[in-house]
């Protein structure tokens, strides 16, 4: 198995608040990893360190076998240029979509290839068509975000990230801001990506989704990985008290599964 991403002894503090306290994780190509944990356990911070929306306090991120940054006196230092290049290779999907409201759906999807990758117009157009089609919204290409439902907006946001043809996709509670009836279509899109072999790190509270789609489930607690394994291992036969408590508090685990197709 080919390793795409490795997180080594990652620490992150905000002022004197230690949020991540030593995360080690190796992610294989095509793997879908779901990250669970209570509010404030550091899930978002972990994702945001992977694409350097936050700069790790210590530790290393290794992409395709190469560490990001340079070690100076035993500490990683980063150049802004290297970080923007890295971010272009990692897709991120936000809870609140964050589509660009002054652009149409199509322009949103084309923006990365155009401004960041500086691809020629024909290739930008090809990618826009490909990825709008992939999320099933080619027919909404000329709509502005304000004319789309939340679910559609999130699928456009996924297409926008995919158009960069990233190595890894990060999803931070991509369905938490959606009305319940719109959650299914976004989870469906995410499942398709997983099935096609996209490497994904997903923070979600949809345990049904975690159970059926994840290759591996991590349970994060107070900035550490408390427990990890297959969905069955973590969700059905948890060994740690913290995981058990979390699952007990999660009645939604027993709700019917969303329609994924």
């Amino acid at each position: 198995m080919e390793e795409v991403l490795r997180i080594e002894d990652l620490h992150k503090s905000f002022a004197d608040l230690a949020v991540l306290k030593g995360i080690d994780l190796a992610v294989n190509r095509g793997e879908t990893i779901v990250i669970l944990g209570a509010s404030g356990s550091g899930k978002s911070t972990l994702l945001r360190c992977v694409n350097f929306m936050e700069i790790p306090s210590s530790g290393r991120i290794v992409m395709n076998g190469r560490a990001v940054g340079r070690a100076v006196d035993g500490k990683q230092t980063y150049s802004e240029k290297e970080l923007t290049r890295l971010r272009a290779r990692v897709g991120m999907v936000f809870q609140h979509f964050n589509l660009f409201p002054h652009m149409t759906a199509r322009e949103n999807v084309m923006e990365g290839p155009r401004t960041v990758l500086k691809l020629d117009p024909a290739e930008c157009a090809r990618r826009a068509d490909t990825y709008l089609d992939k999320v099933g919204l080619a027919w909404k290409a000329d709509a502005h975000p304000s004319e789309l439902s939340g679910g559609q907006q999130q699928r456009i946001a996924i297409a926008r990230a995919l158009a960069m043809e990233p190595e890894v996709m990060l999803f931070d509670e991509a369905t938490s801001a959606l009305d319940p009836e719109l959650v299914g279509e976004v989870l469906g899109t995410m499942k398709e990506l997983a099935d096609e072999g996209m490497t994904m790190l997903i923070v979600t509270h949809e345990l049904g989704f975690a159970y059926t789609v994840a290759d591996r489930v991590l349970f994060l607690s107070e900035g550490r990985i408390l427990e990890q394994g297959t969905p069955a291992e973590v969700l059905t036969y948890p060994t740690q008290e913290g995981t058990k408590n979390f699952l007990r508090g999660h009645g939604s685990f027993r709700l019917p599964e969303p329609q994924l197709d």
């Binding site: 923007t84 936000f94 964050n98 660009f100 990365g112 401004t115």
Partner: protein, 220 residues
């Protein structure tokens, strides 16, 4: 006292008035252009975390926002030449005063406009791999400028009216020309009435435009 309105002297001095009108428009346009440009830079400096950019720009803005433009113009015309090696003509002094004033106010408009864009927009651009400049240019400014437009047009309205202050240092804009004509022709009533009407004719449509814009913006 009965006043007999007589606008004939106006027509005799049409040429002088037109020169005044032209100079008013030139002064306003130059100061608006320069003020909006420098305002962007000063606004960006006030957005900066670097103290060397933040503090001077902040002091600049506060000084020029909190002193009368008339004082600024007089200062540049009468005081500045004494402490500096340059001579300064009326146009330059007026331009300096009005430009710096417009810079100070418009920098605040830029700042507030950029502030008004949610953090998620910056983040989305950043996550795509955009540099800071690309985030600003492609994502933030296109949205912010739309919100700033009414405020900028208000600035233009204010600026047009403020140009009349340049008459105190003998810059031959509309107001100064009117003063000259009225002392020659002894017709201050007709003269200043006409000047008021001319300003109104220029400024009012602009003000209406601003109002329409603001209404449209609220409706969205």
């Amino acid at each position: 006292m009965e006043h007999v309105w007589d606008f004939s002297a106006l027509l005799n001095n049409k040429q002088l008035l037109l020169i005044g009108l032209r100079n008013t428009l030139i002064l306003a346009a130059v100061c608006l252009g320069l003020g909006l440009f420098f305002g962007m830079l000063v606004g960006a400096a006030r957005y900066s975390k670097k103290p060397l950019l933040y503090w001077p720009s902040t002091v600049f803005v506060e000084v020029f926002r909190n002193t009368p433009v008339l004082v600024q113009i007089m200062w540049f015309f009468f005081a500045f030449p004494i402490i500096s090696p340059f001579d300064i003509d009326a146009f330059s002094a007026a331009t300096l005063g009005l430009t710096l004033n417009t810079t100070a106010f418009s920098s605040e408009i830029y700042r507030a406009g950029i502030r008004s864009i949610e953090r998620g927009q910056w983040e989305a651009g950043k996550a795509l791999g955009m540099s800071y400049g690309e985030q600003l240019r492609r994502v933030i400014l296109p949205q912010a400028v739309q919100r700033m437009l009414p405020a900028f047009m208000n600035r233009a309205v204010e600026l047009l009216k403020m140009t009349s202050l340049a008459s105190v240092i003998a810059y031959p804009e509309l107001m100064y020309q009117a003063k000259i004509i009225s002392t020659i022709e002894f017709n201050p009533i007709e003269m200043y009435t006409s000047v008021a009407l001319m300003f109104f004719a220029i400024v009012f449509p602009l003000a209406l435009l601003v109002q329409r814009f603001e209404l449209k913006h609220k409706a969205r």
